[in-house]
Symmetry: none
Subunit: 290 residues, 2 copies
């Protein structure tokens, strides 16, 4: 599809001082990112599309890409020329190159990875990442299956009625409380993060009132500080939603609703993926319920 060469395009090229035209996707992407701010509206639109759907650029025809990106075919050619190519086809070839290098699909890779892991115990970062991802996927599926709709409804009801939602979690689970704090604030709910900063958790917990609610998260081996906070809340008649790992947890007895989440684990490291998913769902459900 490309023209051999012609005056117009070589003109364009020389105007860019024959700058080295990118020859691989990586440098092309870099170039696109770098020049993004200086591009015109339509060209930016294409830049975004190209970074987001490289496969489509590689495979489809100009007309199809243009319509998917919501631009005119000629705009794509202007785009290509802006980056020093003779025409769109030249640019397209860069994207195709990436696909030509035989890359196994995700499922193929998982299968291969599994073989490898059984055989010689690959500890490379990529293997670890794949393993974690797999474990997290399994944990998420498990979460969906185990979590009862009734519990979710009750938890959302408690949170909806609460004037302020207090949050407590420590050590490994602390990121969950931090996320909840952010998310609740974002949907306009008053939240209080009992982060024990300066050792002032004893003071922070005094703020809890029966018209509020507490979300407590703790996993084995159950940080005493968190368990104490839950006990304190229970005594004060503050409704408590608990997230923990198993029924024998000290939270079970003290909470109005408890969720049992089994997070993914690899090499003794527990993930937070499933817990995070549950936490988010609660917040979004709460936000939607209002």
């Amino acid at each position: 599809m490309p023209k051999r060469k012609n005056l117009t395009s070589s003109g364009v090229r020389s105007r860019r001082a024959a700058a080295q035209v990118p020859t691989d996707v990586v440098s092309l992407n870099r170039e696109i990112s770098a020049r993004y701010p200086t591009l015109s509206k339509r060209l930016r639109q294409i830049a975004e599309f190209a970074l987001k759907h490289p496969n489509e650029i590689a495979i489809e025809s100009i007309a199809v890409i243009a319509s998917h990106a919501g631009v005119q075919p000629s705009a794509l050619i202007r785009f290509a020329k802006a980056f020093g190519f003779d025409g769109f086809s030249d640019l397209q070839r860069i994207f195709q190159q990436r696909l030509r290098e035989s890359r196994p699909s995700y499922s193929d890779r998982i299968a291969a990875m599994r073989e490898e892991l059984h055989g010689q115990r690959d500890h490379g970062p990529q293997a670890i990442l794949t393993r974690f991802a797999e474990a997290n996927i399994a944990a998420l599926q498990h979460l969906c299956e185990e979590t009862k709709a009734g519990d979710l409804d009750r938890a959302v009801a408690i949170l909806r009625k609460a004037e302020t939602i207090h949050l407590v979690a420590q050590r490994r689970s602390f990121p969950l409380a931090a996320y909840l704090y952010y998310a609740l604030s974002k949907i306009g709910r008053r939240a209080n993060l009992i982060d024990a900063i300066g050792g002032m958790d004893t003071e922070q917990r005094q703020l809890m009132e029966p018209r509020d609610a507490l979300v407590a998260i703790t996993y084995a081996d159950y940080t005493p500080r968190v368990v104490e906070t839950v006990a304190f809340a229970a005594r004060r008649k503050v409704p408590v939603v608990g997230i923990t790992d198993q029924p024998l947890s000290p939270l079970t007895a003290q909470c109005d609703v408890v969720f049992y989440v089994e997070d993914a684990a690899v090499h003794d490291f527990r993930s937070l993926g499933a817990s995070m998913c549950l936490a988010q769902s609660l917040v979004v459900a709460l936000g939607a319920a209002e």
Copy 2:
């Protein structure tokens, strides 16, 4: 490139008793293998080539494929028709599909899922949980596909050499930094969480030295405080590992290694599942490398 339809080709089709034409690469490959012994010489040649270089079939033009396979262009068309297609282009589309799906654009996948769920219109907490879980699963798969082993290796190398690992992330991404702090401490690495507590991030960042490393996480719209910290580190020659959402992020230019993570999103709420998975993998890989 395909003709609408014509007598000849439909004749060929009907001769094959309108047998179901394969619609995906897997069944097509099966069909090719099965019928291989009954094929004519030139057609076998093509069959071998197709099984060996599926990517080339997907990307190149008939002329190029023909010359690489050492056959005439028309032979390729005969081949396609022998398998019930109207022309070579139809067959080619099957191969293209695989490439498009092998790294499915994440947002398309999410969009498809949204369509699916739109039917039910269930906004209850359980539906939201399921939705989040599925979105997270898709994001995790996407993460595995997009993350390059080389980047992981380089990031781990940087972290391994670091005396102290500084961590910076704010607002939505803060939980990630918090988790990293916990995890790094657990594997016995010295970590410093630049949490901007008491507004003292400017002081906290002074601790960074070239023999250390910085892990920075920020997503649109790129908390200025984090971007500044990264710029500061870059000036001080502190190696930086970045985690962000897309190449146009301000982190791209300043980091030694950057990971692009597209987290799951439902109702404007972005998850941290995929980012969390990546963070964990880095820590575990670092722990294992020692």
